[in-house]
Each structure stands twice: as structure tokens, then as C-alpha cells.
């Protein structure tokens, strides 16, 4: 019997396995450190972090929907300086890769966060061009080829570390923003962020979320996510990180087969604090079952009908 190798190299980031935790679902790691061995994760992607602290949206910020949930947190975060001083040294005590998700309302703000991280001990930056819950910035840049290309280029100029661009699914064609990221020099793309959604309380005749709309995530979005990852992987030559509703190892394998080189676990962390570790084990179980010894044998190996 041969040994299973789950190592993967994404955009120059070598990970012991392809499983990351998604931005906004894992804080800066501390809340889950009592529940799982953080050192088992392929990588942690931090909460979206801005140049200055952001206070976030009014509550209610979350609600459950069939097979999923909506959120409109509004990227509440303590700002990049606080992260570098208060959280990064602690995160660095674990044997895992640290990728910082950065957000901004203007291109200048994105550049400012990336510049603050120039000398920080991190493994990469994920550029968030896809949060649907803040009024300016983010998704406003993320829906077109030109918008994605422009922000990515400007951040690329100040970022010598691996740069991942996180894309929104709220577009007609995912190929356009994906190519925008690639042409601007991104090392990888990640998708999907949440789907723009609305839930209404018929008794009060008001939206459930104070923000009126929010981002849908969880198992219910998985088929949309798999389709978009598959389309994006065909459109670009840089690696794709797939996410959206992954709860089990077999869910993760779907994304790998569709062309993702790594996967990320989001909402499932709220369902089970140990979700990411269970998914790592689940991928290995799948590989044993079918005799795969490396991830290359799986990535993009979907056989179309």
C-alpha cells in the first residue's frame, strides 16, 4: 500500500493538505483553538481586515435559511495594525499557513492594507473583491474584468507575497473577473464568496437582516459553487481555490474534481467546530477508497458526460 500525499502548492504557498478555513468564518483562529488542532489545517484565511477598524453593520446580522444561512456582518474588524500586533504572533505559533484577507472601500484602502503587510510574517494575501455587505468597495470592484484587474494590479505593485483574488458569484459570467485577476498578475483565485440574497419576515413585512440583503452560504449554495469553480478553472491557468457549502470530505472532492487545487471550509465551521479537520480526514478516506495517492490524480479529473 502506498502512502497518501495530500500536500499541495498553491500560488507558491506550500500546504500540508488542501483544506483552508474561509475568511469571516474563523475569526483570527482563537475562537476555535480549543476545539481543533489548528496545526492540522492547510491554511487559515483570516477575517477580512481593513486599513482602519470597521464597526460592521447593525444587527440582526445573521439568519438561517433552508440548508444555509445569510449574513451581513459588514466586515467588522479591528484593523490591520491590531491584527499584526495582537493576532499574527499567536497565529504564527501553529504549523499552518496564514493568509490575510484584505478589504477596502477604495483602491487606496486596499493598497494601504497590503502595504502594511509588506514586512509582516504572513504566507499570502487574499484580496476580497466580493463581500456583498458593504456599500462601497469590495464587490463594486469584483464584478467586471476591468474592475478586478485594476484593483489587483494596484495591490500587486505593493505585494510581493502570493496574491489570491477572491471572487463573487454575483455575476453573469465568472470567466470575466477570473481573467481580470489572472491578467493583473494574481497567483490564484478563490471562489465563491456568498450569493446576494434576501429573507423576509412576513409577520413584520420587513427583511430579516437589518442590512435588508445579505450573503447566502452553506450547503444550499454548493451546486452553484461547484459549477462556478468548474467554469473558472477552465477559464484561467492559475490555481483555483474552491469553496461554497463544503461540509464533508466528499463535498471537498467535488471541488477538486471540478478543477480546484485547494478547498476552503466556511459555514460548516459554525455547524461543527471540528468541520475542517473532519474534511481533511474525509478527503484521505476518499483517496484510500479509490486508491489515489496524490491530489494531482484528482484535481480537474472530472469526466464530463
Amino acid at each position: 500500500m502506498s502512502v497518501i500525499n495530500t500536500e499541495v502548492n498553491i500560488a507558491g504557498i506550500r500546504m500540508k493538505n488542501p483544506v483552508m478555513v474561509s475568511s469571516g468564518t474563523f475569526g483570527y483562529g482563537r475562537e476555535y483553538a480549543d476545539y481543533i488542532d489548528i496545526g492540522r489545517l492547510g491554511a487559515i484565511v483570516t477575517k477580512g481586515t481593513s486599513a482602519e477598524p470597521w464597526s460592521g453593520n447593525k444587527p440582526p446580522r445573521t439568519c438561517e435559511t433552508p440548508g444555509g444561512m445569510m449574513n451581513a456582518i459588514g466586515l467588522q474588524n479591528p484593523g490591520i495594525k491590531s491584527f499584526i500586533v495582537n493576532d499574527l504572533p499567536w497565529l504564527r505559533t501553529f504549523d499552518t499557513r496564514v493568509i490575510v484577507n484584505i478589504v477596502g472601500k477604495t483602491i487606496e484602502e486596499y493598497v494601504a492594507v497590503a502595504s502594511e503587510l509588506r514586512d509582516a510574517d504572513i504566507d499570502g494575501i487574499e484580496l476580497n473583491l466580493s463581500c456583498p455587505n458593504v456599500k462601497a468597495g469590495c464587490v463594486a470592484f469584483g464584478t467586471s474584468y476591468a474592475g478586478v484587474k485594476e484593483v489587483t494590479q494596484r495591490v500587486r505593485e505593493v505585494c510581493s507575497k502570493p496574491l489570491i483574488v477572491k471572487l463573487t458569484p454575483n455575476v453573469t459570467s465568472i470567466e470575466e473577473p477570473a481573467k481580470g485577476a489572472e491578467d493583473a498578475g494574481a497567483d490564484a483565485i478563490s471562489l465563491i464568496n456568498t450569493l446576494l440574497a434576501m429573507s423576509i419576515d412576513v409577520h413584520s413585512r420587513k427583511p430579516v437582516l437589518a442590512n435588508n440583503t445579505g450573503g447566502l452560504s452553506g450547503p444550499c449554495v454548493k451546486p452553484v459553487a461547484v459549477r462556478m469553480v468548474w467554469q473558472a478553472a477552465m477559464a484561467v491557468n492559475i490555481p483555483v481555490i474552491g469553496m461554497g457549502g463544503i461540509v464533508t470530505g466528499e463535498d471537498a472532492v467535488e471541488f477538486l474534481l471540478a478543477g480546484a487545487s485547494a478547498v476552503s471550509v466556511g459555514t460548516a465551521n459554525f455547524m461543527e467546530p471540528e468541520a475542517a479537520v473532519n474534511i481533511i480526514d474525509g478527503i484521505e478516506d476518499y483517496m484510500w477508497k479509490y486508491g489515489f495517492t496524490s491530489l494531482e490524480q484528482l484535481i480537474g479529473k472530472l469526466e464530463l458526460n
Binding site: 469571516g24 468564518t25 474563523f26 475569526g27 475562537e31 476555535y32 480549543d34 476545539y35 477575517k47 464597526s55 460592521g56 453593520n57 447593525k58 444587527p59 440582526p60 446580522r61 445573521t62 439568519c63 438561517e64 433552508p66 440548508g67 444555509g68 444561512m69 449574513n71 456582518i73 467588522q76 452553506g218 450547503p219 461540509v247 459555514t267 465551521n269 459554525f270 455547524m271 467546530p273 471540528e274
Partner: protein, 260 residues
């Protein structure tokens, strides 16, 4: 230490139509839980309702290693939880959050509860000194009143009111609290209930200058402070900032929290 447990339901009781009391076996939780803390309970294995539900702890038996919680079966998830019975296994995280501050035994305390907000206060009542404890409970009508005897066992004085006068005093419980507080001079007030009640308790405590802790509710996703969903305005000097009910609360000193 991980606070994730699979526990057995060893007792189930329907207190009123749609309101259930579950007793579970968990030595760890029974030893560490504080009044005001809560459990994040997976109500169903079905992928329809994906999120856990925060339910406050209403009592512990440290000797026998058991914990109880009371909840109203209101939505899809809690209705599924209510269908479980003795012998069922429950997947829970807990105890989570910050609990009430237990004062000295010499302190004169008042507990104020409204409707289904009284459940965490039962646990608090067990931890306070009976001769120095007055309990005020408000319900809509006689039909909604519950746990009266259990609160009576824990309190020196028990005062009940209903909105329609069908049981106890006719009126809102906070009016009676205010009057009693002026006479009795409490050292501490604890409250849990609907938002309008909490606002009134906060005002009363503030005007009488009595320290006051309240337990609040907000929609939660993770329950552990990671998702930042359950935001609440915390007073920070002249300004405010969003804190989170699951981690900074659910119990807050009324001085530190803005009730909208």
C-alpha cells in the same frame, strides 16, 4: 479545552404547551457552568436547519453531574429538538458566554424575569442567598405563567404580575420592581426578558443607582465569537462599539450596553 460534547437526555418534561425542560447528563458542564451561560445545541441531523440554537442553562446538579435547560419550541429547529426524548443523544457546545456576577451572600438581590426570559434566572436563583433574594416575574396571562413554585423555593419574596391581572398583580412587573426597590434598597438587580422590560429595568436601576446585570438575546450563528453575527452596542466612554452577545455576553452590566 474543547467544550463539544455528545450527551444523553435523561429527563424530559413539558411545562406548558410548547415549552420543554430537558435534563442531560454531563459532569463536565455541571461542574463548570455559571448562571447566565448557554449551550449551543444541534437540534437536528438534517441539513435543513444547519445552525445550532443557543439555549440558556436553567440549572445544574453538580453532585449527580446533570444539567437542565428549558426552551420554547418556536421554529423549525426547536420543534425538532422538542421531539427528542429520554435516551436521545444531543450534540452540544458549552457552557458558552459570560454569566451573571454572583454577589456576596450578604447582598440584597432582586431577580426580574419576563415570559420565557425567566429560564436562565432559575439557575441564578439557585446560586443566590434565599433570605436576601426577591424575585419578580411578569407574564402575559395566567396561562403563560410557569416555574412559580420553583422560584418561590429560591426566594424570600416572590412577586408575580400579569398584563391582564389573571394572576398576581395587574400590570407590568417593572412598576412593582421600582416601588419595591425604593423601599428595600437592593444591592444588585438581575434581569432577563423581552427588550421593553429590559429597557425599563435598566432605567429603574440607573435612576436608583443599583448595579444591574441583564441577559440579552440576539440571533447567533457560531456561538463562540468567530462569526461576529450577534452584534450589540457596547458603551465605550462617550462612544459605542459593537460587541457580541455570545462572547461578551449574554450577560451584560446595564452600564455597558445600549438597548435599542
Amino acid at each position: 479545552m474543547s467544550k463539544h460534547y455528545i450527551v444523553e437526555v435523561i429527563g424530559k418534561q413539558m411545562l406548558l404547551p410548547g415549552i420543554f425542560r430537558f435534563e442531560i447528563k454531563s459532569r463536565d458542564i455541571s461542574q463548570t457552568a455559571l448562571p447566565g451561560q448557554f449551550l449551543e445545541i444541534k437540534c437536528s441531523d438534517c441539513i435543513d436547519t444547519i445552525l445550532r440554537r443557543p439555549i440558556s442553562i436553567s440549572g445544574v446538579d453538580r453532585e449527580n453531574g446533570t444539567v437542565e435547560f428549558i426552551f420554547q419550541a418556536r421554529g423549525k429547529a426547536t420543534r425538532q429538538l422538542a421531539e427528542k426524548g429520554e435516551g436521545s443523544k444531543l450534540d452540544i457546545l458549552g457552557p458558552l458566554g459570560k454569566g451573571f456576577t454572583i454577589p456576596d451572600r450578604s447582598a440584597k438581590a432582586a431577580i426580574v424575569g419576563g415570559g420565557i426570559g425567566i429560564f436562565p434566572l432559575l439557575f441564578l436563583g439557585s446560586e443566590l442567598n434565599k433570605p436576601n433574594l426577591d424575585v419578580f416575574l411578569g407574564f402575559r396571562t395566567l396561562e403563560n405563567a410557569l416555574l412559580i413554585d420553583e422560584f418561590r423555593e429560591r426566594a424570600q419574596n416572590l412577586i408575580v404580575s400579569t398584563d391582564d391581572g389573571s394572576m398576581g398583580h395587574h400590570g407590568v412587573i417593572t412598576d412593582i420592581l421600582e416601588k419595591k426597590a425604593m423601599e428595600s434598597g437592593y444591592d444588585m438587580i438581575f434581569a432577563c426578558g423581552p427588550q421593553p422590560m429590559l429597557r425599563k429595568v435598566k432605567e429603574a436601576a440607573c435612576s436608583l443607582q443599583i448595579p444591574c446585570e441583564i441577559s440579552v438575546e440576539e440571533r447567533m450563528a457560531c456561538g463562540v465569537g468567530a462569526c461576529l453575527g450577534c452584534a450589540i452596542k457596547l458603551i465605550d466612554g462617550e462612544q459605542w462599539k459593537y460587541g457580541h452577545v455570545c462572547k461578551d455576553g449574554p450577560v451584560f452590566n446595564t452600564r455597558n450596553v445600549e438597548l435599542e
